[in-house]
Symmetry: C2
Subunit: 263 residues, 2 copies
Amino acid sequence: MSLFEDQPETAAPAGGVVRARLTVAYDGTRFHGIAPQPGQRTVGGELTGALVRMLRAPVQLTVAGRTDAGVHAWGQVVSFDAPAPAAAEVTGLSRRLTRLLGPEIVVRDAAVAATDFDARHSATGRRYRFTVLNRAVPDPFLAATTWWVAEPLDLRAMQLACDPLMGEHDFASFCRRIDQPSSTVRVVREVGWCDLGDGLLRFEVTASSFCQQMVRSLVGTLVDVGLGRKKAGDMSWILRSKDRARAGRVAPAHGLCLWEVSY
Amino acid sequence: MSLFEDQPETAAPAGGVVRARLTVAYDGTRFHGIAPQPGQRTVGGELTGALVRMLRAPVQLTVAGRTDAGVHAWGQVVSFDAPAPAAAEVTGLSRRLTRLLGPEIVVRDAAVAATDFDARHSATGRRYRFTVLNRAVPDPFLAATTWWVAEPLDLRAMQLACDPLMGEHDFASFCRRIDQPSSTVRVVREVGWCDLGDGLLRFEVTASSFCQQMVRSLVGTLVDVGLGRKKAGDMSWILRSKDRARAGRVAPAHGLCLWEVSY
C-alpha cells in the first residue's frame, strides 16, 4: 500500500519502508503539547491520527523538540517509518496532511530522509523564539503568541544579562525539577534579544538541546531583570548556584515558539 | 456612584450623566458578532456585562459598525451613558475594562464625549481591512486573521476591478438580501489593494457606511477576478446590474477587520 495515495492494498510495493521527515508549524494554543497523551488533544495525536488515516497502518512519530502545552512551533521536525512511496508522491503529502489537519497545524514540508535519520537524535541544534509585547495597552491579535508585559522593560539590561549564558553550562537553575535526575548541562550557541519595534521584543536562543521549561525560565528571569527586580549581574550567580529557586518565574507558554531545528 | 471606581453609593455625584466613548479592538474568532444576542457569546454582551459590573447600573451600548460573527475590529467605537465621573477617572477605565474582559477584547481608549455624541450616527466614515494570504502553504499563525487562497492571484486585475467602485453607487449587488428593503446606496471614498509582501494582500475600503456583508462580498468578487474566474471589466456591470446573483462568493468573515471609524 502506498503512503501517499489511497491506493488499494494490491498496489503496494513489496514490503519497502521509507523514513519520512516532516517540517510542521502549529499554533499550540488549543493543544496539550506535542506528545500524544490519552484523552488529550495533542499535536502529535492529531498528526498520528491523520497519518494513520492516510497510511492505514500504525505510525510511531519521533519529534525533534518536545513542546509543552500552549507552546507553538514554526519549524518542528518529526520522522516516522512508512510504506515506501514513489519519491514523486512525497511532494503531495504535505498538502494532503494540511487539508486533513485544519488551520492550526500546517505541514510545511515533507521529504524522504536517509533510513538512519531520526528527528530527535539526528538534530544538532534547536532554535527557540520567545516574544514579549511591552506596551501599556495589549493587542488582541498578539495575545496568543506574545507575553504582554505592561511595565516598561530595560532591554539593555536584559541583553547584558544574556552574556553569561553563552557556552557550556549546567543550567539546573533554569530546568524544571524532575524525579529522574539527568544531566542539565547544555551548550548555548546563540542568545539575545532583538527590538522589533512597536513594543515587540524577541528573545532568540540556540542550543544543542534544552531541558524542560529552560527557555521560559530564562525569559522569566530576564524579564525580572528588565523590570529591575533582578540585576543583569545576578544572572551569573543564578546560573552558578544550580538552584532552581534562585531563578525568576517561568514565562507563559504562549510566548514561546520552536523556530528551527538543524541537522 | 462613580463609573470608574468601586465607590459606595453615597459617594455618587447627584444624578449627573456623561456620554462615554470607547475605542475597542477584538479578535472576533470566538464571538457571535458584536450585537448582544441572548444565549450567544458576543463582543457587545461581554462589554455590557463588564460595564454593568463596574457601574452597577444598566448600560445601553451604541456601536459604530455592526460586525458579523467572526469579524475582527481594531478601531470599533461604542458609546453609552454612565454616571458622571471625574474627568481624571476616565483614563483608568480602559485599563479596568481590559483586565475584566481578558485577551480577546481590548479597550484601547476611553473618553468622555459630547452629550450628543452617538457612536453610530455621529460617524462620518468607516474603514475596513480584509487580508488575503496568497501562498501555496498556509500559516497557522495567520489562520485566524487572513483568508488563505492557495492559487496565485492577479493583483493587478484585482486593483483594476476596484476602479468602478469609487464614488456613490447602489451596491445592491454586494449587499445581503434582507426582508425589510432599505437603501443600498453607499459612497465609497477609498478602495484598493496593497501588496504587503510574502503573499499578504490587503484590501482597504472607506465609505460613509456599508450594508451587510458588503466588504466580504466585494472581496469575494475581486478574488474571483484575481483567479481569472471573472474579468476586471466585469465589475462595472455587476455593480450596475444591482443583482446579488451576479457578484461572486462572500469572502470568509475571519479575514475582515473594522479598522477605523471617523467622526
